[in-house]
């Protein structure tokens, strides 16, 4: 089992008020799944993604990633896990504005300690995989929204992570571009990657293989998606 979450809660303190963003969630995800997380705004989707991605830690419950209990890890150990196991794709892309596409994709490899020449080669291959072979030396402001998100996806892929986490990756894109990005995720999943996507759009969620719905920090439904034809 890749992800095993048991009775996991996350509490925020806003002044005197306690916000229970996640309320005793239990959930497991296998390798090579393609999961969509849905739910109304404020239901805890991003909070769950951040915990799965080791950017944040739960207040209660346990989270086991790849057999490793995450709660006991130090900040630097979490950083190493994020580097090796997790690829993030953000709604707002989060690219380094002054670096070109190639350098943005190289970033995780730098912190992995991969030598420069090798880094270049891997980053190039990955950019080609997301269809940006001809835009490597473009800065983010020289790319369209869809292209920026492809760069971000290449960055998420470049370290061969166990999971790709995308929090509303199409939120800032028009629907056509959004569909292209979702097609890319489907292809990546077909190639063996585990993918978890947060989305508001039913249509996009339908592209995945399993939909988990949250409300007020709890899972209200968790079901497989019926696909008429295999791709």
């Amino acid at each position: 089992m890749l992800i095993d979450i048991r009775a996991l809660s996350k509490k925020y303190l806003l002044g005197a008020v306690e916000v229970l963003a996640l309320n005793e969630i239990s959930l497991s995800i296998e390798r090579n799944e393609y999961v969509a997380i849905m739910g109304p705004s404020g239901s805890g989707k991003s909070t769950l993604m951040n915990i799965i991605g080791c950017l944040d830690v739960p207040t209660a419950g346990s989270y086991t990633l790849n057999g490793q209990a995450v709660a006991s890890l130090s900040d630097d150990e979490l950083a190493t896990i994020r580097n090796k196991e997790i690829g993030f794709v953000f709604q707002t892309f989060n690219l380094l504005p002054r670096a070109d596409a190639l350098h943005n994709v190289e970033l995780p490899l730098i912190y992995k300690g991969v030598p420069k020449a090798e880094r270049r080669i891997i980053a190039r291959e990955t950019l080609e995989k997301v269809g940006l072979g001809d835009r490597m030396d473009h800065k983010p402001n020289e790319l369209s929204g869809g292209q920026r998100q492809r760069v971000a996806i290449a960055r998420a892929l470049v370290n061969n992570p166990s999971i790709i986490l995308a929090d509303e990756p199409t939120g800032n894109l028009d629907s056509t571009t959004g569909e292209e990005i979702m097609k890319l995720f489907a292809d990546l999943n077909a190639a063996g990657n585990t993918i978890i996507v947060v989305t508001h759009e039913e249509e996009i969620a339908r592209k995945s293989k399993r939909i988990i719905r949250l409300r007020d920090g709890r899972i209200v439904s968790d079901e497989a998606v019926e696909h008429e034809a295999a791709v």
Binding site: N50, G53, L55, D56, D75, D76, A79, T80, R82, N83, K84, F88, F90, N94, L96, R98, A99, L107, P108, I110, Y111, K112, G113, K116, R155, N159
Partner: protein, 410 residues
């Protein structure tokens, strides 16, 4: 962890450089404090180092086992009038030392005047005329380059002979041979019997622009009452202190100084000058230290300030780097490197300007011998140190930021 940061040193330097380039004006202004500090330090440092080597090389030429009996001490502390009222050092003192000193190897009386020197149609104003004896070769450590120095007989006979300094010989005679020629010094003619080896310049003053004549001749021409300087060479340099004590005894007796009163003469020595010089450089070093401290403070605060701004501006970048796997140490090193790079820019500029200014000062002082490059290390060390100290807090703040909060930062 440390190994990690070394492997990534090139990366950090690149990142630092990019960030500095992106804010050129801001970076230049920030680094100004360091630039001024390092410039001052390097200027003074270069000057002192240049002077040290130069003075060291000149002083080593001048005998260290020679003492000079004179009316005035070389470094006057306190009341000048006290010294003025002293009796001159005269022939009696010279005779007494020569007769009674057992620790002296050579005793040389010296007296100086300034006169016109002329040969043919060439005439030079204000040439130093030195009256002395044959032992001047020992106490003054000079050697004839051509011809010979005076013999005891020349001195006793008060002969009208002269030995010339290299510079004077060259100016009077150009390429022709001075030996055997007669030159005019003041109103009288003297035959040239030797020319001394060149001693070189001292702060742009030639040390070879003089004519030496037998002291008896000098005293006959310019008067018997002029004060003497008596150079005394110790038999061995180890006995220098004993020699000084012995001379004090002889002089106090000859000059009839009452037991309760202090010496009415001075026994001068090269040490006094080096001591004086060392005191002066100590003051300069203190100035360097103060400037270093002030520019550390001013420049350092400037860098801390701008690094705080930089860290805040780049909160999302920091969050992203952490999200893709940067550890605390990676972020810390990145921003430390940026601070070091900032202050090193000021440092490098300061080193260059300081080296230029230092060599300019040395050349104005007519000091030759080149610039000491240890200044480069001093400047680099100093600016890197300021970079680390002033960059640490902002870098630490960046390193300990929470990744999610940073990613959310607007």
């Amino acid at each position: 962890m440390i190994r990690d940061s070394f492997a990534l040193l090139g990366e950090y330097t690149g990142m630092a450089w990019q960030s500095i380039i992106a804010h050129k004006m801001r970076s230049i202004l920030t680094t100004l404090g360091i630039l001024i500090g390092v410039t001052t330090i390097i200027t003074i440092w270069t000057t002192i180092q240049g002077l040290n080597t130069y003075i060291g090389s000149v002083l080593s030429d001048i005998g260290n086992s020679v003492v000079y009996v004179e009316k005035y001490p070389w470094v006057i502390k306190g009341d000048f009038w006290k010294y003025r009222n002293r009796k001159n050092i005269g022939w009696r003192e010279y005779e007494a030392i020569r007769r009674h000193s057992r620790l002296a190897r050579a005793v040389t009386p010296q007296v100086v005047a300034s006169r016109v020197a002329a040969y043919d149609d060439k005439k030079l104003e204000r040439v130093a005329v030195l009256g002395t004896t044959e032992t001047f070769t020992e106490t003054g450590s000079v050697t004839p380059e051509s011809g010979r120095f005076f013999t005891g007989a020349d001195i006793r006979n008060k002969a009208r002979l002269t030995v010339l300094g290299a510079q004077l010989a060259e100016e009077l005679f150009k390429k022709s041979n001075p030996l055997g020629k007669r030159i005019r010094i003041g109103d009288l003619k003297y035959k040239v019997i030797g020319v001394l080896e060149r001693q070189g310049d001292f702060f742009g003053q030639s040390r070879d622009n003089f004519a030496i004549v037998p002291i008896g001749t000098f005293r006959n021409v310019y008067g018997q009452q002029r004060g003497l300087q008596i150079a005394v060479l110790a038999a061995t340099s180890a006995e220098l202190e004993d020699l000084k004590e012995e001379l004090r005894g002889i002089l106090r007796q000859t000059r009839k100084v009452p037991a309760a009163e202090e010496d009415d003469f001075a026994i001068n020595q090269m040490d006094q000058l080096t001591g004086f010089y060392e005191d002066a450089t100590a003051t300069l070093y203190a100035i360097i230290f103060i400037i270093a401290a002030i520019s550390l403070l001013v420049g350092g605060i400037g860098i801390t300030n701008i690094m705080m701004v930089s860290v805040t501006e780049r909160t999302r970048e920091i969050g992203l780097r952490k999200a893709v796997g940067a550890k605390k140490n990676n972020i810390l090193s990145q921003f430390l490197m940026e601070a070091i790079a900032l202050s090193s820019i000021g440092g490098v500029a300061g080193i260059l300007i300081g080296l230029l200014a230092g060599s300019l000062i040395l050349s104005l002082l007519k000091v030759t011998g080149g610039v000491d490059l240890s200044a480069i290390f001093v400047g680099f060390g100093f600016s890197a140190f300021v970079g680390v100290v002033s960059g640490f807090y902002p870098a630490y703040k960046a390193a300990t930021m929470n990744p999610i909060d940073s990613l959310r930062y607007e």
